[in-house]
Symmetry: C2
Subunit: 292 residues, 2 copies
């Protein structure tokens, strides 16, 4: 069921992204090519699908909010382009493809990231059929999650702690900010756009927090146990870069137990939802068996 | 009158910026320090003042829209930080101060720019006392102006044409996109926020286009005739970098005539306004005697 849902929504999202960031008759073409290159470099569309699944879970229709869903993917994609730059993580490959700056040069990669972040707001601000006051509230949450106290703040800690021993608290904060905040914004946006009740928003917020935690722990586990051809980057690169992860600060076994606990708590948060939240349940469960 | 207006509004803008991008109790502190460093590095606050003067010119109160005004300054500031990076213009100084990447390192400078761009939207989305539908429309225009068909697109052309001979049309397009689009968005935002009539918005749009043109021509003239201690960067740097400018493509004298023409056309666009547009008149006239 999850596979079909993701394929179906993924196709809709890809088509919309292709329209929102088009190459046709756009000037200057170079920047749109660079923006599209990273946008269509094999992303799993996790954030837009989470938004849609949250809207579906509260009785709405996730695909009604395509602009906001795509905006989240554009924000996520810009952050990857900038994270990969030589001045940051200096990665040549992502998902098995050359990174933006390797293909287009550093200057253009910086601008492609800037372009995607800015376009995300243009696209989200033109979301049809949503009351403007709801739109303003939701976009405020998304921009905060993407900002210096959220996603960017997490990257700042990542950047400044490379090669240093960091505490478990700092690691947890870094991940909550770097990836957790945007997951949470996606789920809350889906719920709020679909006029969720307060208890539903609260429950999905709790789910989001545990989802983010499980996502990060399983990401760290994959870096040790995964297959290079599946995850698209060299195995053990965290270890090699002396990065603190859940596997380096705990044992592999402990990390697996923690991932399980986070998944169970995410499921617990959905206990008052019926079958309409089954996709969200499957999504968090699937993290335990992810191979990329 | 203009000097007093700019001092008065400038103080209000600075205070608001200081609150919107605060350092107190913000985590991680490094990114907020970097964001503030560039935000308070001597900017003239031209875009927020243009927004306010436009609102005043149509009978509104410019200072009612402080969030949007400050958002424009934050967008402008982020663009300067990224433009100065080694992968772009590679500038060590701006307005006589070390550029962000020279002080904080390249990675942090990229993130400070990202942080300012994102925070601009957070701040603008929390603009009080504006109808949400008007806010959504105005922010849509601002994000478009700042994006890949506007400001970022202009920088793409600048980046990709360095050392190359470009046509006058390309030069004009580049400037209209790189600096003109955000000036226009500022003036149109001020008018629309203050519930301007359609003819007023149209007139201010024309004014904005000529203002942008005059600004750029006089900027190019300053690069040749200015004083280093006033403009804060070495004189003749455009010439040295083989950059096409209004002075290299035309003569200095022709450029001065063109600047005069643009100013006159900007004044012409305001012909149906009364004294309430005097600040805008003074602002565009003052470009002819600018020394920084």
């Amino acid at each position: 069921m999850l596979k079909q849902y993701c394929q179906e929504k993924g196709k809709i999202i890809d088509e919309a992204l292709g329209k929102f960031v088009s190459c046709e008759n756009m000037y200057p073409p170079a920047i749109f090519e660079a923006m599209r290159y990273s946008l269509f470099a094999g992303g799993k569309r996790l954030r837009p699908i989470l938004l849609m699944a949250a809207a579906d879970a509260v009785g709405g229709t996730g695909t009604d909010y395509l602009n906001i869903a795509c905006g989240l993917e554009m924000i996520h994609t810009y952050s990857l382009i900038h994270d990969d730059l030589p001045a940051m993580d200096d990665d040549d490959y992502r998902r098995g493809k050359l990174t933006s700056h390797k293909v287009f040069g550093e200057g253009m990669a910086i601008l492609a990231g800037d372009g995607l972040l800015t376009a995300a707001f243009t696209v989200m601000l033109s979301q049809p059929a949503v009351k403007p006051d709801v739109l303003v509230k939701v976009l405020g949450e998304i921009s905060t999650a993407a900002g210096a106290t959220g996603m960017i703040g997490g990257q700042v800690i990542d950047l400044s702690s490379e090669g240093e021993v960091i505490s478990i608290d700092t690691l947890a904060y870094m991940h909550q900010a770097k990836t957790g905040a945007l997951f949470k914004a996606a789920l809350r946006a889906g719920a709020q756009l679909a006029s969720a009740k307060e208890w539903q928003i609260e429950a999905l917020t709790k789910y989001a927090e545990q989802f983010g935690l499980a996502f990060q722990i399983t990401d760290d586990i994959l870096d040790v146990t995964g297959l290079q051809e599946k995850i698209g980057k060299p195995i053990g690169s965290d270890m090699k870069n002396h990065k603190a992860t859940y596997v380096t600060l705990y044992s592999l076994n402990e990390a697996k137990i923690m991932a399980n606990q986070a998944v169970n708590q995410a499921l617990e948060a959905l206990s008052h939802f019926g079958h309409e939240a089954d996709i969200l349940r499957e999504m968090v469960r699937s993290l335990l068996t992810r191979d990329n």
